[in-house]
């Protein structure tokens, strides 16, 4: 889990990727929002059950899927229960009955699911959920902020953060294969509006390409009158502990598995995202670490600073759960200074990525100085110039455990 875990190509995400030999005719370019790219991915993954509940800014995913279904292009049972809680509650036994399951949500909807998110991972139901990162009330707001999904970090779900419409499409399809391989559910998040509603050219693979990549879901254990297997009954203390240890073992397989799955995807499409991406980190004194749409802004800032001869790079965290400790240690080895940009806030703790990274690098020989900045909490705009200021003023920010408010 070192170099192989990382995407090191310097090209910009979201731009035309190199095409795989023979793969060119099996994709077409479409102008899609991030949400519609997710809907295309979900359609191509051929789930058999896709319940949904509307919530801004997720709703276009639900509407696009219902539109596909109405046009006869999406063969899934699609229901619209009265709440996200019931959506997830329906997803779990549907998955356990042996069908592929997809849904999408955001913000309060994900929080409402919280109880049953735990249930899903405990039941080892490999559901894939797309989440649009949006502030959580109160006060009421709709802006990009990752606190909603980061607050689910202990629920036993694999978590990916996506920077672009293309990455969201690719990640949802990859997430099904990863989740179903280890029987752990997966969450793919992208930021409200910056990704969810921004239009980009997206390479959309042909159905046959996705079918080749994603085998039919056929779990050995399932809810089936012919099998008479039951889920959820009371267990002893020892059985519960064993169950959690098995979940831990499955989670531990994910980083390497995600790298392999990403590599397979690259063979078919030419696009690879890694679980951690190093962008212009060679010889970097200072490295920015962040997730989601902030990565795109940080790339612009890095490019501008590199043009000025400043040795700065970016490490993008794409896989957040399980936290890719080994890959991050490798990616940040030899780096003097890290600036974490957190578009989220955990009161009494600070920026979640900041705290996770401190924990991951603790005890590492020659560990970098880590400064955590709460940048963009609540959707506050953080333009490239602001990120350049963060780098210029780095020495003025505390490098202790407290995250620093900068917006």
């Amino acid at each position: 889990m070192n170099d192989v875990a990382m995407r090191t190509q310097p090209e910009r995400s979201g731009k035309a990727a190199p095409q795989a030999p023979g793969g060119t005719t099996r994709e077409q370019t479409m102008l899609l929002t991030g949400n519609h790219a997710v809907a295309w991915a979900a359609k191509l993954a051929r789930p058999k059950f896709a319940p949904g509940y509307p919530i801004t800014p997720q709703t276009p995913i639900l509407e696009k899927l219902t539109e596909f279904q109405a046009a006869g292009e999406f063969d899934a049972e699609l229901i619209t229960p009265e709440s996200e809680h019931s959506v997830m509650a329906a997803c779990i036994p549907a998955s356990l009955a042996g069908v592929r399951v997809f849904t999408a949500t955001a913000s309060q909807g994900l929080l409402l699911m919280h109880e049953v998110l735990q249930y899903a991972s405990g039941a080892r139901a490999p559901i894939v959920v797309a989440n649009v990162n949006r502030t959580v009330a109160s006060p009421w707001a709709f802006w990009p902020d990752q606190t909603d999904s980061l607050a689910q970090r202990d629920t036993g779900w694999i978590q990916f953060y996506s920077e672009s419409a293309q990455e969201s499409l690719d990640s949802v399809i990859q997430a099904f294969r990863i989740a179903e391989s280890v029987l752990v559910p997966a969450l793919v998040s992208h930021d409200a509006f910056y990704v969810s509603h921004a239009l980009e050219p997206v390479r959309v693979p042909a159905q046959e390409l996705v079918d080749e990549f994603l085998p039919e879901y056929a779990p050995p254990h399932r809810i089936d009158p012919a099998k008479v297997e039951s889920w959820g009954n009371v267990v002893t203390q020892e059985m519960f502990a064993r169950h959690r240890r098995e979940l831990a073992e499955a989670m531990a397989k994910v980083p390497q598995l995600a790298v392999e799955v990403d590599r397979d995807w690259a063979r078919l499409t030419g696009r690879s995202w890694g679980i951690v991406e190093r962008y212009r980190c060679d010889g970097a004194h200072t490295v920015l670490v962040t997730m989601g749409s902030m990565c795109g802004t940080a790339r612009d800032a890095v490019d501008a600073m590199r043009d000025e001869g400043i040795a700065v790079g970016l490490v993008k965290v794409r896989l957040f759960r399980p936290f890719p400790v080994a890959a991050l240690r490798a990616a940040l080895a030899g780096v003097a200074e890290v600036i974490v940009l957190d578009r989220n806030y955990s009161p009494g703790c600070g920026g979640v990525l900041h705290q996770e990274l401190r924990s991951a690098l603790y005890g590492m020989a020659d560990a970098p100085t880590i400064r955590g900045l709460l940048a963009g909490v609540g959707g506050v705009n953080v333009p490239p110039e602001r990120i350049r200021e963060f780098v210029r003023n780095a020495a003025s920010y505390d490098s202790g455990p407290e995250s620093v408010w900068v917006s």
Partner: protein, 303 residues
Amino acid sequence: MRKLEVVEEAMFCSGHAACPGCIEALSVRHVLATLGPDTVAVVPPSCMAIIAGPQPFSSLRIPVYQPTLESSAAAASGIRRALDAQGKRDTQVVVFAGDGGTYDIGFQCLSSAVERNENFLYVCLDNEGYMNTGAQKSSSTPRFASTGSTPAGKLSRKKNLTEIMAAHEIPYAATATAGFLPDLVRKVQKAKTIRGTRLLTLLIPCIDGWGLTDDGGLGVARLAVESGVFPLYEVEDGHRYTLNHARRTRRVAEYLAPQRRYRHLKQPEIDTLQADVDAGWERLMQRVAASEAQAGMTRAAVA
């Protein structure tokens, strides 16, 4: 007295974890026997979840999925749709939920599932309180009943689940109780033939929670029906009413007498409950009469 002949496929096994004399175990045994082996059960936290047994044991010969307390109808919807997607459209999905999981915390998702007319049978095992946690009040607990959380007696009335379901125009809603077993079995058989959501409310006198003698459950179940406290009836599509036990032959006081939860009642409260039951019975008779009149007009129009 005649011996009841019950044709039974053993779907619910002995060795289960119910209390001695439990009417819930008896009721579920007959519901399951009637549904048969091509069935999947959804059992939220409740007495029935305990009765079903801890892992790796099960007292049911069918797959059981235990969802969270508030999500039975949503879980049943998910299983139903997954089975449909696999072409298993004839497999029955049955929910066994308590009144807490139905009238209270599970009510929102039940209403939604009935609105969508999801194809499953929902059996509410109504023992009028949270008996699995030691007999606290639910919104199914009747007026004046003493519970762990209403020691001086509950002040508000019991929700009428069947009427709420009828207002959803559910294909089939019915009340039944093991005190009238052939009627219960017939209703399960009927529900089995109907597609869409079907809901049976089974009155389950609780030995411990109601304060009955170990062999007192069935007798109280019969008194509930004979006094009109728990009328046996069916509603189809929300408006076709059929009364299954037409006469009231007992006073409400006779139903209350064997139950410790009502032991604190004074005569004025007993009179109030009698008046409540009289009024409820009258309203039910009006609905039955309106339904019969409507059917008569339809027959006349066809003729």
